[in-house]
């Protein structure tokens, strides 16, 4: 076999001339050093990664190394990394990037991540991989800097966009790439237009048999293969083709996507312990809850589900939204609602909050508490304050600097962090292993994201999860369903997600809400929830059989 060869002819033609000008000649010692360096840095094996041996402080997991090898060797550096939450996608991406940098195959790198993750990426790249990256906010020299971390929003702003599209990147990473699922968005068009040799898309949202997702992501990784969106849809959807029916499409997907599941990693994960903490309302509270329930049952046009959930969280949360409702509905002036608002004002401290304070007080451990409501968040901080328990608040809406600061305070000074839902994405709190679901979200994805904040790589302890629930309320039904019936906390979300896709249910929370709203009685609610749970179970069993 003839393999084409190229030679460095330029060097030869300059050699004679240079050896006559002493300024460009070096000493024997330096000459030797340069040769030694070349020997040290050479890539001596086709198959092995070079970089891990240069990262002595890192302990990579087998699936991470394997992922990097596959991306480099089989996928030519263009891939979708779709591992389940917490398996270390950032580590995999960092390792791949490091490998390309060390092999001299990449110099100019653009990393696009959500605003909340910019600093974390920079920190991880520099601390774990010794990759010096510049984080770009407003002013940045796109031309000069070699490795830049920024957000999609910053990058696609007018003047930046123009500059960036003029650059030729060796390596582009897009974190949380599910934001590129829609091919009609500016995000998609922007990433598509980037000049890039290697491309990693990272997402925790699984790409299943949903053809449109596949179309968009493959179009970025392997442009042109699937033609235009319209043609693609025509060929596949209208002919009712599935991926499995088309071996080429299947092969194509396998060539671009890596998805590790927790159970395939062979890693001993620390355990999750789940406790339900049952709380009884005080008599006054229970009375009020009943009043609330009766009132909304009699007024057929509004569902009381929201208010009931709020009241199970805190007086404050319920009070605020009742007030709001009254303000919007002038007719409500003479209804029992005004009376009810007054009643709330006179209720004692919330039974759940008291229980929470008791639990935290008994322990020296750090706790992360999640609630759905901001009013509850502030109330809980006040309650803890009364016992001299230091806590910090955390919200999705905080500016980045403030988020980092809160995390720092929590790690170093405060015993408790109280977070609302939006805190779910991005913040890593491995130093804490106690989590309280003060109230439960009905969306399993969000629940998993909460837990994923502490149950992830780097967590050395078993993780303790407390679910607070009030007996004889809507809480009870929800905890029954999520915890006891479908074992949500033990099951890993990926499976449930697949099941929901099969059932063609997009959101479990919508479904649950529907059941609560449409059921005429507690009995009916229970039966419907039971049915839902057993459907999920049967599919889950089927899946397990299929896998075995």
């Amino acid at each position: 076999m003839q393999i084409p060869k190229t030679m460095d002819k330029e060097y030869i033609s300059s050699f004679t001339e240079v050896t006559e000008s002493p300024a460009k000649l070096c000493s024997w010692e330096l000459f030797q050093k340069s040769y030694q360096i070349a020997e040290t840095m050479k890539v001596s094996d086709f198959n092995q990664l070079v970089s891990p041996s240069f990262l002595p402080k890192m302990d990579f997991l087998p699936h991470q190394i394997e992922c990097a090898e596959r991306v480099i060797q089989e996928m030519n550096g263009r891939a979708l990394l779709a591992d389940e939450v917490g398996l270390g996608k950032t580590i995999e991406a960092g390792l791949i990037l490091k490998e390309y940098l060390m092999r001299g195959m990449a110099k100019k790198v653009l990393i696009l991540v959500p605003a909340s993750l910019v600093n974390q990426w920079a920190l991880e790249l520099s601390q774990k991989f010794y990759i010096p990256a510049v984080t770009a906010r407003k002013r940045v020299n796109w031309k000069e800097a070699n490795i830049i971390i920024t957000t999609l929003d910053t990058a696609k702003k007018g003047k930046h966009q123009e500059e960036i599209l003029n650059q030729s990147y060796d390596f582009v990473i897009v974190d949380e790439a599910h934001k590129l699922k829609n091919h009609q968005t500016k995000n998609f068009a922007f990433v598509q237009a980037l000049k890039k040799k290697y491309l990693l898309l990272l997402t925790a949202t699984p790409v299943q048999n949903k053809l449109t997702d596949i179309f968009n992501l493959i179009s970025l990784i392997k442009p042109g293969y699937l033609g235009t969106y319209e043609e693609f849809v025509k060929t596949y959807r209208h002919q009712q083709k599935k991926i499995d029916d088309d071996p080429y499409l299947k092969q194509l997907v396998n060539k671009v996507m890596i998805r590790n599941r927790r159970k395939d990693t062979g890693v001993q994960w620390t355990n999750r312990h789940i406790d339900t903490i049952w709380v009884d309302f005080s008599e006054e509270e229970q009375q009020f809850y009943n009043t609330l329930e009766q009132f909304f049952q009699s007024s057929s046009h509004v569902s009381g589900v929201t208010y009931k959930r709020e009241f199970c969280s805190s007086r404050e949360a319920c009070y605020l939204s009742l007030k709001k409702w009254i303000n919007l509905n002038e007719k409500a002036e003479n209804t029992p609602l005004l009376e009810m608002v007054k009643q709330i004002e006179h209720l004692p401290h919330h039974a759940k909050a008291k229980k929470l304070v008791d639990l935290v007080k008994q322990s020296n451990e750090k706790f992360i508490i999640f609630t759905e409501y901001r009013a509850t968040q502030i109330y809980l901080q006040w309650m803890l304050q009364q016992e001299n328990i230091k806590s910090v608040l955390y919200r999705g809406g905080f500016k980045k600097g403030k988020k980092d600061w809160m995390r720092h305070l929590f790690q170093n000074y405060a015993q408790v962090m109280i977070a609302t839902e939006a805190a779910g994405e991005g913040i890593n709190l491995q130093f804490c292993h106690h989590l309280i679901n003060y109230d439960l979200p009905w969306n399993p994805m969000r629940l998993e994201q909460r837990i994923g904040r502490i149950h992830r790589f780097g967590q050395e302890n078993d993780v303790q999860i407390y679910n607070f629930a009030i007996r004889n309320t809507i809480d009870e039904h929800v905890i029954e369903l999520l915890h006891h019936k479908i074992n949500l906390f033990e099951n890993v979300i990926g499976q449930l997600d697949q099941i929901l896709t099969k059932l063609e249910l997009n959101d479990l929370d919508d479904e649950v809400e529907k059941i609560f709203t449409e059921s005429k009685s507690i009995g009916e609610t229970k039966i419907k929830l039971d049915n839902l749970a057993s459907v999920i179970h049967s599919i889950n069993d089927e899946e397990k059989v299929g896998e075995a």
Binding site: C26, E29, L30
Partner: protein, 269 residues
């Protein structure tokens, strides 16, 4: 083995080479007083030197503080190790400074000594396909009689060379000119390579073939994007078609005494 193994030795000798005073409070700690050349090369502050020059001032080179022990976290010392950007920076500085040389074997400076010209080339062969692999050859070529030796750097390791000729030494001029010397070396390397296992290239071609089939399958549906198709095919070929690149790490003219030449050739027999 010619690889760098001990980073402490490497740093010590590199900075000494540039006459930079080194203070080592601990075995793993280096506090290096840079000179202007290395400050410019390593500290990344061109403006500082630009303004100093403009003001006609001397400027003060910085002190570089390095720590080679991953376990110690000494404040103010940056951790340097294989793979750290700082070491990479030093490496690439050296590589760029040490492309060419012209050296004479040191003699006692009393005896009349004839020095024979050798071309020493350190050559990197990169096998490029699906993946990459590199091999390094160090070849010496006697520029008068054409004798060629492998592992040349290893063989010259302990011979003292200097940039100026010792007294009473004189050089013989090459019969083989360096450019044709290089071609002889390349010829030798090509011969060597041709005996190597080439399964890597076959595997690469196979992957290329697979990728092309996939490409053809998907593009048969949309012929109107011919340009795209051609582009992608070109990229695939560029990336996957096996090829070999032969490049020069560094090379130089070495003048060796008859005695040394004798010794080198003996090892050949």
């Amino acid at each position: 083995m010619m690889e760098l193994e001990n980073i402490n030795h490497f740093l010590e000798s590199f900075f000494s080479l540039y006459d930079c005073p080194i203070d080592r409070p601990e075995k793993n700690l280096f506090s290096i007083q840079l000179n202007r050349e290395l400050d410019e090369a390593l500290m990344n502050r061109p403006f500082y030197w630009h303004y100093m020059d403009k003001l006609g001032q001397q400027g003060a080179p910085m002190t570089l503080k390095l720590n080679t022990d991953p376990e110690s976290e000494e404040k103010g010392f940056e951790w340097i190790h294989f793979g750290s950007p700082r070491l990479q920076q030093i490496f690439s500085y050296i590589q760029q400074q040490a492309m060419y040389t012209l050296l004479y074997e040191k003699s006692d400076g009393v005896t009349k000594t004839a020095l024979y010209p050798w071309l020493v080339g350190n050559i990197k062969v990169s096998y490029l396909g699906k993946q990459k692999k590199e091999e390094i050859f160090s070849i010496g070529l006697h520029l008068i009689n054409g004798i060629m030796l492998n592992n040349m750097m290893k063989k010259l390791e302990n011979i003292p060379f200097q940039r100026v000729m010792s007294d009473y030494s004189y050089t013989l001029s090459p019969i083989i000119k360096p450019p044709s010397g290089f071609y002889r070396i390349f010829q030798y390397i090509e011969n060597e390579i041709s005996t190597h296992d080439n399964s890597w290239a076959i595997a690469s071609l196979k992957t290329l073939q697979e990728e092309k089939e996939l490409l053809d399958y998907f593009f048969q549906h949309n012929k109107d994007v011919q340009e795209f198709y051609e582009n992608e095919e070109r990229h695939l070929t560029e990336r996957l078609e096996p090829k070999i690149e032969i490049s020069i790490i560094n090379a130089g003219l070495f003048y060796l005494s008859a005695q040394t030449v004798q010794k080198l050739i003996q090892t050949l027999q």
